[in-house]
Amino acid sequence: MPGAKFDIHYVFDYFPKQLSTLSLTLTIVGLSILLGLGFGFLVALPRLYKVPVLQRVSQVYVSFFRGTPILIQLFLIYYGLPEVLKLFSVDVTRTPVLAFVVLTYSLHAGAYISEMIRAGVTAVDRGQVEAAYSVGMSGFQAFVRIVLPQALAISLPVFANLVIATLKDTSLAFSLGVMEMTGKAQTLITLSQHFVETYIALAILYFVISFILEKIFYVLERRLLKHERQEAGAGTGRRFGWRSAPTLRNLLTGTTRGRGGARARDGRSEA
């Protein structure tokens, strides 16, 4: 077995050292998700509104970022993007690595988020939009007041999974030399040769953050979906319960959980 003899003290010792890089990890996650939401919306719209050419473009984008490993995306963007930009005489050699990392993660998250938005929006039945029109709302009002809140609530479990997946994926940023939690762990190992202890401390850190995020999303979800809860006792089971939420990859491969709409859907054309 490589490295130094196991010593539990290193776990406690390294914990605070790695904790100091937590803020960088969370920054990457936060920025990536935020930007990812932006990309996701931009990419979802042409598909929702069936814009001829853009629709194809966004399909290709989504397939690419869902279909290739994030590590390769990191390398492609870090090494490839500067080359491409050079053709347009844009020099990015002084741009911090972190920018490339965040760009990659947000493009990656954006692909999943666009699918999430699409699934969420299509799950809100058309009849409600027609009802909104019939009381005089504009298309924009109907979208913002009626469709979006419900789509977001439906999407929340998927979104939660995505945030946690992104958190875990940030551990790959160390391969470009970014000193986030995993990167820090690597240097600690180089110094001390205490592999196992370092990774134990690291695993605990990731686990605790994921756990906290899960709890937060669970509370949020219960809030946002309170309208789907039947009165006590009359419940038909927790259709959108956290526990029953399928995994990210399963869900995003296109299974939308239909709701209510089955009998309310009329499938008619819009005015």
Binding site: A131, V135, G136, A234, R263, A264, A271
Partner: protein
Amino acid sequence: MIQLSRITKSFGRHEVLKGIDLNVGKGEVVAILGPSGSGKTTLLRCINFLERPSGGTVAIGEAKADGKHPSKKDIRELRLKSAMVFQHYNLFRHKTALENVMEGLVIVRKIPKEKARAKSVEVLEKVGLGAKIDAYPSQLSGGQQQRVGIARALALEPEVILFDEPTSALDPELVGEVLEVIRRIAKEGITMVVVTHEMGFARDVANRVVFMDEGAVIEEGDPREIFAKPKQERTKQFLKRITPEPNYSI
């Protein structure tokens, strides 16, 4: 009040409405009857442009729109003058009964929240749901949901309310409560167009019935006369099929 002239509608090559003329006077209750697929729903949806006619014109009061080339403003005007009650209720599922009714008042009519709330509570009480104002649609029975749908339409004080088979998605034992509410508001003199399969209701409540078949109006007139002695062969057949009781007509 409502003037439809030469309304046509095609889905692809399928001509669903073949030039319909229909005038509905103020305070009149018109029931539209006819076999499945005859275009009743489509006609109703053309009135508020949930479906865009292929030709003809639609007018409600002062508001008027060209069927094929309506302006956004025209459509909006028509929708402000009308309200619709849907077969499947189409309530906003993330909003309570009260919020469902308030939504149009606050967002579209820009009525201050407190006033809108008072108005909405009043209308919900009128349809017998005073105790359920804070319930979400998922917590209401079909009949209750449809009464919220009616309250949502009624609160807007539209010049005309369009009903598309308001009771046909309901369990039989819930049909009565909804028809009762519609009957009551009909008495208040609100203009209504009701697509229905409830013959008894059409006969008792409507001032006029309109029979449609294959995208055209084939017969119309006073319900009692028409139910007693329909002139058209197709109306006769339809009535025979739909009214099982032999001693149904007067």
